[in-house]
C-alpha cells in the first residue's frame, strides 16, 4: 500500500536496472534531494549545521569510503583516521600553496588552489597513500590485515605531528584553515555562513554517493564482491586480485580523504592531528558501517546519522532533562554504542539497511501480507 507497484512497468533494460526501480520510491528520493538542496539552506542555523548536518554529511562520505573497502571488498581497515588525516593535511598544503625546499632554499612554490580543488586533491593524495598501505593486502588477509592497517594509522599521525613542513612550521603544530571562497562566498575560515558550508559538503556527499552507488553495481563492484566472497574462486573466474584490491583501496581512500579534507577545512577549521584523527576516529567510522549495514550505500548514511545523533540525543535527554553529570552520559554513550555493535552483529549483521529493506518489503504488501 505504501509502496505501490501497480502500473509500474519497465519497458527497457535501462529502466529495469535503475537504482530505484519503483516509481514511488524514486519520487520520494527526488523529494528528499529537493528538501536537502532547496529547502534546508534557507532554514539552517549555526547549531543545526555544526552539531548535526555537517558531521553527518562528512562522516557519511567517510562511511561510504570505508564501506567500499570493508563491505564490498572484504578488506578490513582500521586506518581510516590516518587516511582522513592525509586528506586534511593534503588539502591544507594545496590550500596554502605547496612549497618545496632544498638546502634551506625555496625551490618552487605552487600557486594556492581553490578550496574546491584542494579538497579533491586531498582525496587524490589519500588514494595514493591508501594504495601504498593496501599493498600488504595481497599477502595477508583477515585481521592480520586489519592490524596491519593500524600501522598506517599510527605512522601517519606521527608523521603529521613531527614533520613541520606539513603544518607550515606553525608554532602550535596545528593546521588552521585560512579563509577561502568560491565565487565570493566564504567556505572556510571563522566567518562563514552555515548555508554555504552546508551546501559545499552536501555537494560532495551527493556526488560521492552517486559515484559509489554506480561503481558498486558496475563491473568493478562485482569484482570487489567476488574477492570478498571467495578470493580464490574470484581469481579463477578471471578477476585480477591485485587490481581489484588496489582499486578498492584507492577508491575507498579517495572518499575517506575527501571526508578528512572537509572535516578539517569546513567543519573544524583548526586541527591537532592526534586528537582529531586518532584511532578513535577509525573505530567510529567502522562502527558506522557495522550499525548502518556492511555493503550498502544507504547503510553508510544510516550509520553516520545514527552515530552522529546518538551523543546529541543522549546529551539532550541525560544532561538537559535529567540533569546528570556529563561524564556519566559520555560513559553511557560508550556502553550503548558497544552494546549495539554486539547486538547488531548477532541479530542483524546487515545493519539498519537490512531493517529498512525488511520494512519496505512489509509495507509493500501491507495490509494484505499474503
Amino acid at each position: 500500500m505504501f509502496y505501490r507497484e501497480a502500473g509500474d512497468f519497465s519497458t527497457t533494460y535501462a529502466e529495469d536496472q535503475q537504482t530505484f526501480p519503483i516509481k514511488f520510491d524514486r519520487y520520494r528520493y527526488y523529494v528528499v534531494l529537493f528538501i536537502a538542496i532547496v529547502v534546508v539552506p534557507f532554514v539552517i542555523n549555526d547549531y543545526w549545521a555544526n552539531s548535526l548536518l555537517l558531521p553527518f554529511l562528512i562522516y557519511a562520505i567517510a562511511a561510504i569510503g570505508l564501506n567500499i573497502l570493508v563491505g564490498y571488498c572484504g578488506q578490513v581497515s582500521l586506518g581510516t583516521g590516518g587516511f582522513m588525516a592525509v586528506g586534511a593535511y593534503a588539502c591544507y598544503k594545496f590550500m596554502t600553496g605547496i612549497d618545496i625546499w632544498w638546502g634551506g632554499e625555496l625551490l618552487f612554490r605552487l600557486p594556492e588552489f581553490n578550496i574546491f580543488f584542494s579538497v579533491i586533491m586531498g582525496g587524490v593524495m589519500t588514494a595514493i597513500v591508501g594504495v601504498l598501505f593496501g599493498l600488504p593486502s595481497l599477502r595477508i588477509k583477515g585481521f592480520y590485515l586489519a592490524v596491519a592497517t593500524l600501522a598506517a594509522q599510527f605512522f601517519l599521525v606521527w608523521l603529521f605531528n613531527r614533520v613541520a613542513w606539513f603544518y607550515n612550521y606553525s608554532a602550535s603544530g596545528q593546521i588552521n584553515a585560512p579563509e577561502r571562497d568560491i565565487l565570493g562566498v566564504l567556505i572556510t575560515g571563522p566567518s562563514t555562513e552555515p548555508w554555504a558550508t552546508y551546501l559545499f559538503c552536501l555537494f560532495f556527499t551527493i556526488v560521492c554517493a552517486v559515484i559509489a552507488r554506480n561503481m558498486t553495481r558496475g563491473a568493478s563492484g562485482r569484482k570487489w564482491m567476488a574477492i570478498r566472497d571467495m578470493d580464490i574462486a574470484a581469481e579463477i573466474i578471471g578477476v585480477n586480485p591485485l587490481r581489484a584490491k588496489l582499486t578498492a583501496f584507492a577508491v575507498s581512500s579517495f572518499f575517506v580523504g575527501i571526508s578528512g579534507a572537509l572535516f578539517f577545512s569546513v567543519y573544524l577549521g583548526a586541527v591537532e592531528v592526534g586528537e582529531a584523527f586518532g584511532i578513535q576516529k577509525s573505530f567510529l567510522v567502522l562502527f558506522m558501517i557495522i550499525i548502518g549495514g556492511l555493503g550498502s550505500i544507504f547503510g553508510s548514511f544510516a550509520g553516520a546519522a545514527f552515530l552522529v545523533l546518538l551523543p546529541v540525543a543522549l546529551k539532550v535527554v541525560g544532561v538537559d532533562w535529567l540533569g546528570w553529570p556529563t561524564d556519566i552520559v559520555a560513559h553511557l554513550n560508550l556502553v550503548i554504542v558497544g552494546g549495539l555493535i554486539v547486538i547488531f552483529l548477532i541479530a542483524e549483521p546487515h545493519g539498519i539497511a537490512q531493517l529498512w529493506r525488511v520494512a519496505k518489503e512489509k509495507l509493500r504488501l501491507w495490509p494484505f501480507p499474503h
Binding site: Y144, A146, L150, I341
Partner: protein, 335 residues
C-alpha cells in the same frame, strides 16, 4: 667500558623488561585465539577493568556510585572499609570469571561459526561496552594501585639501587632498571610456566588443547565447548588481571591502560597468533627493537616518539615476507 656501549646495553635491558610486559598482554590474546579462534581486541580493556575492580574492592568503593547518586540523588561513595590485597585479588578473580561466563553466554554463544573478522569486530564492540561499564562502575579518574602482601611488603617501585651499585663497581657504569620491571618479568615467567603446565598435565588443559585443534572432533569425544570457552575466557581474564596489576602499579589505573592492547597486537603479528612462545619472543623482539630504534635512530634523526609506530611497521614488513608470523601455523589454502 665504553660509555656509549654501556648505555646501549642498558637500553637493551630496559627493552627486554618492556617486552616482558607486552608479552604478558599478548599471552591473553593467544589463549583465547587458540581455543576459540576469536581475536580478542577487548583484552586491554579487560586488563583495565580488572585493575579498576581490584582498586575499587581494595578501597571499598561502591560500584556504580556515580550513577546511583545521579539517579536517586544520594551521596554514597565508599563502604568505609579497606580490603586486604590478597582477598581483593580473590574477589577480582571471581568477577573476571563472572565476566567470562557472561561474555560467553550473551555474546559468543550466538556467534559460533561466524567469520573471524565478524568475531573481531564483536570484540571491539565488547571493548567499548566494557570500558563504559568500568568507568560507570568505578569512576574514570586516575587511581593509584598498591598491592601489598603485608604491611610494608608491597610491589616495589623505583630503580634498583643494588643493581646500579653492583654494575657501577664491576663495569664503571650504573645500570638503571626499574624494580617493578624485574618483578614483572619473574611473575610473567611463573605465569607462562603455570599456563604451559596447566595445558600439558591437567584434564581441562588437555580438553582445551583438543578444542584448539578441532572444535568438532573435541565435541564428538565429549568435551563441552561451552565450559572450555568459559574456562579460557576466565584464564584470559586472570592474565588480564596480572597484566593490569603490573601496568597499573607502574603508571596508575586509568584509561590509557586499555591501550596496551594496541601494543600487544604487533607482538602477536610478529610471533604468530597461535603460539605462546611466539608471544614471548615477539614481545621481547618488539620491546628491545622499539627501545633501540628510538635510541639509535628515532631520537637523533627522526624527532623522537617513534615507539608509537615502529612495532607496527616492523610487524607489517615482517608479515609481507612471512604472513603467519615467526611461530604461527602455516595455513595452506588449496582450491
Amino acid at each position: 667500558m665504553n660509555e656509549q656501549l654501556a648505555f646501549t646495553i642498558e637500553v637493551f635491558a630496559n627493552g627486554l623488561m618492556a617486552g616482558v610486559l607486552y608479552a604478558l598482554v599478548a599471552l591473553g590474546f593467544v589463549l583465547i585465539y587458540k581455543a576459540s579462534g576469536i581475536f580478542n581486541y577487548a583484552q586491554g580493556v579487560m586488563a583495565l577493568f580488572a585493575a579498576m575492580t581490584l582498586v575499587g574492592i581494595q578501597n571499598g568503593q561502591v560500584p556504580f556510585a556515580h550513577l546511583i547518586n545521579a539517579i536517586f540523588g544520594t551521596e554514597v561513595h565508599h563502604f568505609g572499609w579497606h580490603v586486604h590485597s590478597f582477598i581483593a585479588i580473590l574477589f577480582t578473580v571471581v568477577v573476571m570469571i563472572g565476566l567470562a561466563w557472561a561474555v560467553q553466554k550473551f555474546v559468543f554463544k550466538h556467534l559460533v561459526g561466524q567469520e573471524p573478522i565478524i568475531l573481531f569486530m564483536a570484540t571491539i564492540g565488547l571493548a567499548y561496552f566494557l570500558e563504559g561499564v568500568a568507568d560507570l562502575m568505578w569512576g574514570s579518574e586516575l587511581k593509584a594501585l598498591n598491592v601489598c602482601a603485608a604491611d610494608g611488603v608491597c610491589l616495589p617501585q623505583g630503580m634498583n639501587v643494588w643493581l646500579e651499585g653492583t654494575t657501577y663497581e664491576a663495569l664503571g657504569y650504573g645500570f638503571f632498571i626499574d624494580n617493578l620491571d624485574i618483578v614483572a618479568s619473574i611473575v610473567a615467567a611463573i605465569l607462562v610456566i603455570g599456563l604451559v603446565m596447566f595445558a600439558q598435565y591437567t584434564k581441562q588443559g588437555r580438553a582445551m588443547r583438543a578444542v584448539a585443534d578441532d572444535h568438532q572432533a573435541a565435541l564428538s569425544v565429549g568435551v563441552s565447548l561451552n565450559f572450555i570457552w568459559v574456562l579460557v575466557w576466565s584464564l584470559a581474564g586472570f592474565v588480564a588481571l596480572v597484566a593490569g596489576i603490573m601496568w597499573g602499579a607502574k603508571s596508575g589505573v586509568q584509561f590509557s591502560l586499555s591501550l596496551i592492547a594496541l601494543k600487544a597486537l604487533p607482538v602477536l603479528m610478529l610471533g604468530g597468533f597461535t603460539s605462546i612462545p611466539g608471544a614471548i619472543v615477539g614481545g621481547l623482539i618488539i620491546g628491545v627493537g622499539e627501545k633501540l630504534f628510538e635510541f639509535l635512530i628515532g631520537a637523533p634523526f627522526l624527532g623522537g616518539a617513534t615507539e608509537n609506530w615502529f612495532a607496527y611497521m616492523l610487524a607489517l614488513l615482517f608479515l609481507v615476507f612471512r604472513p603467519q608470523g615467526l611461530f604461527g601455523e602455516k595455513i595452506i589454502e588449496r582450491v
